[in-house]
Amino acid sequence: MKKEEAIFLLKQMMQIRQFEDKIWELLSKNIAQGGSHLYAGEEAVAVGAISILHPDDYITSTHRGHGHAIAKGGKLPELMAEILGKATGVCKGKGGSLHLADLSQGNLGANGVVGGSLGIATGAGLSVKLRKAKQVVICFFGDGATNQGIFHESLNMASKWRLPVIYLCENNLYGMSVSVKRASAVEDLTKKALAYGMPAENVDGMDILMVRKVVKKWVDFAREGKGPALLICNTYRYYGHSRSDAKVYRSREEEDLWRQRDPIILFSKRLIKEGILKEEEIKDLEKKVTEEIEEATRFAMESPLPESSALYEDLYA
C-alpha cells in the first residue's frame, strides 16, 4: 500500500470518527437537534468500500449516513451545516442528518426509512445498464433492513436483470434494540442471497483492507456486467441507536470486545508495523482532522438558518 493511499484511508476514517464524536457533543449540548444516528465504529466499511469506487459511481446510504457522505466526498462544513439545519448545508438545511445527499458526487442520499434506498439503488443500477455506462452502485443498508419487503423485491430484480449493484449490508448486530438473532430467521445473513441466486460473502467490517479486498472483487465483477452481490460487513456501532438509547439490549462486555477491534486503531497499528506510517505521523494526522472538524463546526454554527422564503422552494423542478 502506498503511503498516500494509506493516509487517505486513515484520514477519512478519522474524519468520520471525529465528526461523529463532535455531533454527539453537539447533541448533548442541544446545539444539534433531532435524530442523528452515529457511524462511529463502522468507519472501515464506508471508507473501505467507497474507496474502491470511481467518482461517478453511485452510492445509496441510510439513516446512519454521515460516514457514507464523508467517504463519497462530502465536504465536512457542508455536512455539519446540514445536520444543524443551516442554509449552507449540502441540502440547504432541508434534509438534515437523515437525508444527507449530493447527486453531483454520486451520493443518491441517506434515507430516514429503513430499506428506503434499496429500490433507488436498484434503479440506479438499471439506469447504468440502460445507458450502457460502466458505473457501479453500492447500496448500503443495515441488518435490520434485510427484513423489509423491498430488500426481497430489489435483490430479486437486480439478480434477474444482472444489475451492477453491490448490496452492502452493515451488520452491526442490532436494528435499533432488536438483535439479528431475534429479528431474522437466519443469523448468517449471506444466506438471504440464496433466494436470489446471488453471490454473497461475509466480510470483517472492522478491517478496512479486508473490506477493500472483497468489495473490489465484487465491484469489478459488477462492472464487467456479471451482476450484483450481497456483502455482509460485520461491524459495530459504538453509540446507542440514537441519543435516547439506554442500550439495555446489549452488554458493556460486548461493547468492549468490539472496541478492541476498533477499525482505526487496527489499521493504524498495521501501518506502523508495516512501516508505512510512523506513530508521530498518525498523531499529526489526527490533529489535522481535529482542526478540520473544528473548522467545519465553526462554519456550521456561524452559518445562517434558511430564510423563510426557502420553505416553498426546491419542491418542483
Binding site: K94, G119, M157
Partner: protein, 326 residues
Amino acid sequence: MHNREITYRQALHEALTEEMERDGKVFLMGEDIGPYGGAYGATKGLIEKFGEERVRDTAISEAAIIGAGLGAAMTGMRPVVEIMYIDFIGICMGQINNQVAKIRYMFGGKAKVPLVIRTEGGAGRTLGAHHSQSLEAWFMHIPGIRVVMPATPYDAKGLLKTSIRNDNPTLFIEHKMLYNTKGQVPKSEYLVPLGEAEVKRKGSNISLITYSRMLLYSLEAAEELERQGISVEVIDLRTLFPLDIKTITESIKKTNRAVIVEEDCKTGGAGAEIGMQIMENSFNWLDAPIKRVAGADVPMPKSSILEKLAIPSKEDIVKAIKETLR
C-alpha cells in the same frame, strides 16, 4: 381535417410510442406490459417495437417497480412505470410518499425526478373491492407529486406526453371504463399542459366540477338538464394537483352555484379539497352550499347492482343540481 377518432387506449399507446421514439431515455417498466400488452392493452406491441430493454416486464413487486423507477429517474433516465391497478398502490405507497415525492425537496432541490407512474382506477366492471378503487385523494395530499386524470382520448394523449417530458414525478391515473371510449385526436403533435382545467361545456346556471369518467356522466346530465332549461357549465379538471382553482373560480363567479362530481369515496375525497378551495375563494359569490355527488363510503361491492349504487349516476347528478338550484 387532421383529426381522427381513436380510443383512449390508442391515444395512450400513441403517446408512449411517440415519446419513446423522441427520447431514448424514456423506457417502460411494469407487470405484464410486454407480450401481454398491459392489463388494459395500452402497451400492446411496444415490446416488439422497442425491445425488451426498454419495455420491461417485471415480477409482481410494486415497491421495487416504483423504487427502481425513482433510482433510474434520478440518474438520467425518464421511466414510465405501471402499477396495474391503483388498488395495489398501497403496496408501494411508502416509496411514492417518502421517496418519489420528497427526494427533491429533502435534497435541497438537487435531484430531478422525471418519473411517470401510470395506473388505472375506478369501478364499473364488477371486479369488487380490490380492483375498483379511486384513490386520487391520497396523492393530492402528498406535496411533490402531480396527479393527472384524463377523461378523453385527446387529453389522455396530450397529458401523458407532457407528463413524460416534465421533470417532476407524476401519477397518471387512467380509468378502466374509458379505454374503449373514442374521441377526436389530431394526427399532428400536441401537448396538453399540466394544471389546467378545461370547460368542456359552457353554461350559466351552475358549475359542475368533475374529472375522469365522471365527466361523461356529467355531460349527459348537463344535456338532459339543457332540455329542461337549465344551463350547466361542465369543468373537467384533468389535473387534480396542482388544482386549477382559477378556472373553477371564474365559472362560479358567473354561476354562483357549484356541484362537484367525483367517483371516489366521499369522505376525505378529492371533492372535499375542491369544495373547500371554492369556499375559500368564492364564498361571497356562492348562493347555495356546494354539493358533492360522490362514491359511497364503503369498499366497492362486487354485485353489479350495488356497484352502480356505490358510484354516482347521471340521475344523482341531475338531482344534486336541481337541489342546488332550488
